[in-house]
């Protein structure tokens, strides 16, 4: 029975007076690459730690592959995790760290692991204490991807990786997706999420403010039209679908929150010199969600 890979119901975590995560209810489908976005302190890592059983929920519950996350032994067989800042056993070599982590998890694709060691250009015979942040990150990534766990929980996994390795990481996620693994990618690197994820959830101050596909987000949010006039621009503020009008040196910039038809109709026949449309970048979309001042 294919249920969701990850399901949280009213998942809440309070630290004293602070509510780090407020009633998160979310389904991540099997085989999906799900982006989990939010500014620092929004509760992304808290969510992952709850899913992993590192911390206990104040309220609500969570399941991975239909198994309650409190059942560590059963639940963790299905998952692998990459933290945002990896620390290793300084005296072990990279290879020994991988061996240990593989043994602990139980199921490892050794061939794939050696492949990944090559692809990530890890020097496995070096002791972990000599590794840079990026290299430690690679060890965790290789360990997680080589378990072939059905659910991969990644918490800002590319911090410290160079662009080349970041590309390799994206390849790994694509391969995981092709194998049917579920990837839960917590990140604040929008280009990464845009690249990899079909669907995202946006967290702000512990609350899930949106779950949508990236296309939906784009459609929901504004498009901008720069309209240049030969002469004074008309007043477009009252036109249907217009959110905002700013003047530019050559005309106006109209921010739309609906279809562009009415505006185009309104300017029809006027002395136009140019019309340019640009979709809001993801950046702008998320900035609109994150807002300012109400992070706490």
């Amino acid at each position: 029975m294919p249920g969701p890979a990850i399901r949280t119901i009213g998942l809440t975590k309070r630290f004293g007076a602070l509510t780090a995560l407020d009633a998160l209810t979310l389904d991540v489908e099997d085989g999906e690459v799900f982006g989990f976005l939010g500014p620092n302190g929004a509760g992304k890592s808290t969510t992952l730690r709850l899913l992993l059983g590192f911390i206990r929920a104040s309220a609500g519950s969570a399941e991975i592959k239909g198994i309650d996350t409190r059942d560590i032994e059963a639940c963790h067989k299905h998952l692998a995790y990459v933290p945002g800042d990896v620390s290793l056993w300084p005296k072990l070599t990279g290879e020994e760290c991988l061996e240990l982590l593989g043994n602990l998890h139980g199921a490892v694709d050794r061939d794939y692991r050696s492949q990944l060691v090559e692809r990530f250009a890890l020097e496995p015979e070096k002791r972990a204490r000599t590794y840079s942040k990026g290299n430690r990150q690679k060890v965790a990534l290789i360990a997680a991807f080589s378990t072939r766990a059905e659910v991969l929980l990644l918490d800002e996994p590319t911090s410290g990786l160079d662009p080349l390795m970041e590309k390799e990481f994206r390849r790994c996620v694509d391969e995981a997706k092709a194998r049917g693994q579920t990837v839960f990618l917590s990140s604040h690197i929008l280009s990464e999420v845009e690249h990899l994820c079909a669907r995202v959830g946006i967290l702000r101050a512990g609350k899930l403010v949106e779950v949508a596909s990236i296309d939906q987000l784009r459609a929901m949010r504004s498009t901008e039209l720069d309209i240049d006039f030969d002469g004074p621009p008309p007043d477009l503020r009252a036109v249907e679908g217009v959110a905002q009008v700013e003047s530019t040196p050559t005309g106006v910039r109209v921010t739309l929150n609906g279809p562009p038809g009415p505006v185009l109709k309104a300017i029809d026949g006027l002395p136009l010199t140019a019309v340019r449309s640009q979709e809001a970048s993801l950046e702008e979309i998320f900035l609109a969600y994150y807002g300012d001042g109400d992070r706490a």
Partner: protein, 526 residues
């Protein structure tokens, strides 16, 4: 300039509590020992010679030079232990500040400021050095405040201060030599233990007495406070401190951040053994500890056994000495079986300290967030904690037995009288107390893991101090009862106190169970 002040203040904050506690505890010990001695009638000169010729007492407390004044008696009875404890604290504080901060990456943050790394080392050494007069002045004022001769008071306190400074130096040098705090502390600890044991061997033997001139503790003795009041050994103590500190300062200029002068190779062959499961991995992690602590306890056992062999018949002939020792809580030490029993308490303290430090790995893995990689495995927290506990217990039992075997070997080699079974029984008798400390350590991991090392270690050392010095200081019974060591019979001289053993083990089990439950249920601090 303000950066220098900020860095200094930071270091002061990191050592002040320990330094103040150490000062107060030292002052308390001095004051109460002086009081206890004042409360007894005069001691005959013959008795002094008797005590001075008892190798076991000499080994334990040092050679007495003046027991007629309360000051001189106190220097003999608690002076050496205070020096040992102060040296241990100074050494551990030095490695914590000079290596631990760097290993944890905190030094990196400090060094982004205008203070350079060599300068940071200098400042840290300066602050660490500044803690030693604090202890010295407290002790000196206590002696003087209890109306003891000023010269002797100042002399002993200056000696104590310089011994501490010597071990700030030892810790400082070790921190430059080794890249990890554990290794630096281990190496410095071996030096401290070796020097202390050398002093014991020297004082406890007749032919090797000159050996004490090679140890700071021997120099401290040779100050002969309240007796001959010799100042010359202060020069040796001071010169050693100057040399060690200079070496530490010089070495700090010859290394890079995070590195030690003695660096292991950066590459290593794959050793896939003992990487299979939590238990085998804990065992692998504990192997270095097994070697280090095992060696230290074996050496300790040899020294105890050697001293014991040398004085088997001594006490029986001296009823005066027996009476005297009874009064000062020393009578148990004075028979062979009693001596083994008493020495085993010291061995047990070391084993308990091993258990506490070894279990601290659980907290270190959490604090340094290695659990983020290991705990996502399908392994429950009780299994993880259980692996650490089992490994600590196994190593604890092994090093305990090593100590017993060494004691037995040394006694037999000296034609002394101790059966192998008695040697083992003596150490096994301490296991319920060690179990109790284990329970406390595990409980702390469950409720206050950040206090596991300091709280657990403090409990062990405090319990030993209470049970060794409590009777002398006439502490109330309920205080004595707080020490698990106090409930141990002096096996093999006395039969095992099964009642206490059962109570201790039951308490230990309850603490263990509580620790497992709280550790499993609490939030990881990652």
């Amino acid at each position: 300039m303000s950066a220098t002040r900020a860095v200094t203040r930071l270091t002061v904050r990191q050592v002040r509590v320990g330094a103040i506690v150490l000062s107060l505890v030292s002052a308390t010990f001095v004051a109460s020992t002086v009081k206890a001695r004042e409360a007894t009638e005069a001691i005959t000169p013959g008795l002094i010679e008797d005590l001075a010729s008892n190798p076991a007492l000499r080994a334990l407390y040092g050679t007495p030079f003046d027991l007629s004044t309360p000051g001189g008696f106190t220097v003999w009875r608690v002076g050496m232990f205070l020096a040992g404890a102060a040296a241990l604290w100074a050494m551990l504080a030095a490695t914590r500040i000079l290596r631990g901060e760097e290993e944890a990456g905190r030094a990196e943050l400090v060094l982004t400021g205008p203070v350079t790394r060599p300068r940071l080392t200098d400042l840290s050494l300066l602050v660490l050095g500044a803690t030693t007069p604090l202890v010295g002045v407290c002790v000196a004022l206590t002696f003087i405040g209890t109306a003891q001769a000023v010269t002797g008071s100042v002399l002993y306190s200056a000696g104590l201060m310089l011994v501490m400074l010597d071990f700030v130096g030892v810790g400082g040098v070790a921190s430059q030599l080794f890249g990890q705090r554990r290794r630096a502390s281990g190496a410095a600890g071996l030096v401290l233990g070796g020097v202390f044991l050398t002093r014991m061997v020297a004082d406890g033997s007749s032919g090797l007495r000159w050996l004490r001139w090679f140890t700071p503790f021997g120099w401290l003795e040779e100050l002969r406070p309240f007796a001959d009041n010799r100042f010359l050994p202060l020069l040796l103590l001071g010169a050693t401190a100057v040399i060690l500190l200079a070496v530490a300062v010089a070495l700090s200029r010859r290394r890079d951040l995070g590195d030690g002068i003695v660096s292991d190779r950066d590459e290593a062959e794959m050793r896939p053994r003992l990487l299979r499961a939590p238990l085998s991995f804990q065992w692998r992690q504990g192997l270095t500890g097994l070697l280090g602590w095992g060696f230290a306890l074996f050496a300790t056992g040899l020294v105890f056994g050697g001293i014991l062999g040398a004085f088997t018949e001594y006490i029986a002939k001296n009823p005066d000495v027996q009476k005297f020792m009874q009064r000062f809580g020393l009578h148990e030490v004075a028979t062979p079986g009693g001596f083994v029993g008493s020495m085993d308490v010291f061995a047990a303290m070391a084993v308990a300290l091993y258990v506490v430090t070894s279990l601290n790995r659980v907290w270190e893995d959490e604090q340094e967030r290695r659990v983020e990689l290991s705990y996502p495995a399908p392994i429950t927290r009780p299994r993880w904690l259980g692996a650490s506990v089992l490994s600590a217990v196994a190593v604890g039992v092994l090093i305990s037995c090593g100590c017993a075997v060494a004691t037995w070997l040394a006694v037999v080699a000296a034609n002394g009288d101790l059966s192998f079974a008695d040697a083992l029984a003596g150490i096994a008798n301490t296991f319920p107390a060690i179990a109790m400390f284990l329970g406390v350590a595990v409980m702390l991991l469950g409720i206050r893991p950040d206090l596991e090392r300091s709280g657990g270690g403090g409990f062990v050392v405090g319990a030993l101090a209470v049970s060794v010095f409590g009777p002398l200081m006439h502490l109330p019974d309920w205080v004595l009862d707080l020490s698990p060591f106090h409930h141990l019979a002096a096996v093999p001289a006395q039969p095992v106190d099964w009642g206490s053993a059962v109570v201790l083990c039951t308490l230990a089990l309850a603490l263990l169970a509580g620790g497992f439950v709280t550790y499993t249920r609490r939030d990881l601090r990652v």
